[in-house]
Symmetry: C2
Subunit: 324 residues, 2 copies
């Protein structure tokens, strides 16, 4: 980073599906200088989100010189050109050359990548993956996604689609997923699907899950992964069962990945991974049972929480600085 | 390879479970100078196999100067030190420092790796994977194993166990595998298991599989993956079903790998992959259905057949020459 002034800042941007965040880090430092996080207004399109991002970026930058910009985007991205393919949540992003757009606007080097890849890199550089040259980061929340570090570098796949553990099939006789297949990890372990499963079973079994019913005041539509975890922790047997089934499905997926790729470490982040020890035990047990006995690995919680994409955005921006 | 005389040869050795092979290649050439292949005597241990290998190596070398030796070993190997962990087929190989042993004996650089990794490298350097920087080589015969090339280099995993697609679970309700799990790819798609499945079903269903029964002269114990493929090709509906089920299980495994790693190419070798177009169609169909629509890949047959490990042994030996 020879030519980069230590007065300048690195700008990290995170375009989530529903949230927008920006943060600045002084070159060479390890603590945020400024961070700002806002909700994307419902129904907003790409251009509205870009406008809001410009505004919060300006607030965190505060007129300082920007050395480089790293961007985490919640959707498929061509990381080589920094072109967004689309967003599954926000309309209008199709084929947006985001890197070029921001480079023209800010006149600094910009790098853009998909949020799962960026978060994996964030955990590798600044979080639970430090010093670990092969790891798979998995986020379990609304969906189930993943990002690879192999030989100390992101592995994005031949055409940028690596990491889709959420759509590996672990039970061909399982329920149908949005993607059209049956028994995907995402269909069995994501938050909304876990809640749906609980709702459907409770509708059919009026005697079951009293603890969970009480918790949501008998409004089954109010059930979330969080309330299931809470009821399970309070001893509701039905909720424990739901939670363990979800954990097992994720664990089988992880064990399969261990057999195929033998990474040193799995790092789990996202809301559902905050479901407590019952969930974690089920994940670890099923992963261990699915992996061959000779295949060693560890499964640990992410360290950076919601900030993983921002930290990863810092990492990709630093990378362009040290290469340029 | 500056200091290596072009008069010298590279020696490739292949310790299979039941076969031993040695071959020489003149440095800089692309055609075998000599090859020799023998069966390992039943009941032989490691030291007998080593003795036989010495003899056939001497025959192919014919007194020429050896530049380097590459070794493919049918079992887990620590590729960094060239130490054999064990053989699942031949006793006495536990913790044998094969690289060191051969270096002491021949006084040339030696490299040793597991046969699936070596075969993957062989196909990458000399076969169906040439020019393809990310590929997964799968061998389907007695077992189901695999080897990775990622970013143009072998990926062996954190502790050398990557590639075990055979023991990924594709049907948790499926039959029990030798490894203790249910519904592994190997349990559903390997040759011996396919034959076992056919036998068991025919015993229970005396009316079915007349074509296959005729082919093995009603001796169900004589059924092999090959006879199933032959009966299927002749139109026996039962044999077609068995073959397609096996292909589907392998295809689901491949589709899962595609979602997780997004390699550019899958290369399939081993006896079972010679089962004809019905098998290949089932593999490709299931893989395509299991992979997300955005995940591109191709599935093609291996080009080097039984010689893939020998060619890969050449590649690892060449690697040590160019690095030394």
């Amino acid at each position: 980073m020879g030519l980069v002034s230590t007065d300048s800042v690195i700008l990290a941007l995170d375009f989530g599906g529903t949230k927008l965040a920006a943060a600045t880090l002084k070159v060479g430092e390890r603590r945020w200088q400024q961070t700002k996080r806002v909700l994307s207004p419902p129904g907003a399109g790409a251009s509205v989100d870009l406008q809001i991002m410009r505004a919060i970026a300006s607030k965190v930058v505060q007129g300082q010189k920007i050395a480089a910009i790293g961007v985490s985007f919640g959707g498929p991205v061509d990381a080589q050109t920094g072109t967004v393919r689309l967003s599954h949540h926000v309309p209008g992003w199709e084929n947006t050359p985001l890197q070029q757009l921001l480079e023209n606007e800010y006149q600094v080097p910009v790098r853009v990548d998909n949020d799962a890849n960026v978060a994996a890199l964030g955990e590798y550089c600044f979080g639970a993956g430090q010093g670990c040259d092969s790891l798979f980061y998995i986020t379990v929340s609304t969906g189930v996604g993943g990002g690879w570090i192999i030989n100390g570098k992101p592995w994005r796949g031949a055409d940028g689609m690596a990491g889709e553990i959420g759509h590996t099939v672990v039970d061909p006789a399982g329920p149908e997923c949005l993607c059209g297949k049956q028994g995907c990890v995402e269909r069995l372990a994501s938050g909304p699907y876990m809640a749906q499963q609980a709702r459907e079973l409770l509708q059919m079994n009026p005697q079951r899950g009293q603890g969970l019913r009480d918790l949501v005041k008998n409004d089954l539509n109010a059930i979330t992964a969080q309330s299931i975890a809470q009821a399970a922790a309070s001893g509701d047997y039905f909720a424990r069962e739901i939670l363990e089934k979800a954990g097992e499905a994720l664990g089988v997926g992880i064990g399969n990945v261990a057999n195929i790729m033998n990474p040193y470490r799995f790092i789990l982040g996202g809301g559902v991974t905050k479901s407590g020890s019952l969930f974690w035990q089920a994940v670890k047990r099923a992963a261990r049972q699915t992996a061959l006995p000779e295949v060693y690995f560890e499964i640990i919680p992410a360290a950076l929480g919601d900030e993983a994409p921002l930290w990863g955005a810092i990492a990709i921006a630093q990378d362009v600085l040290s290469c340029g």
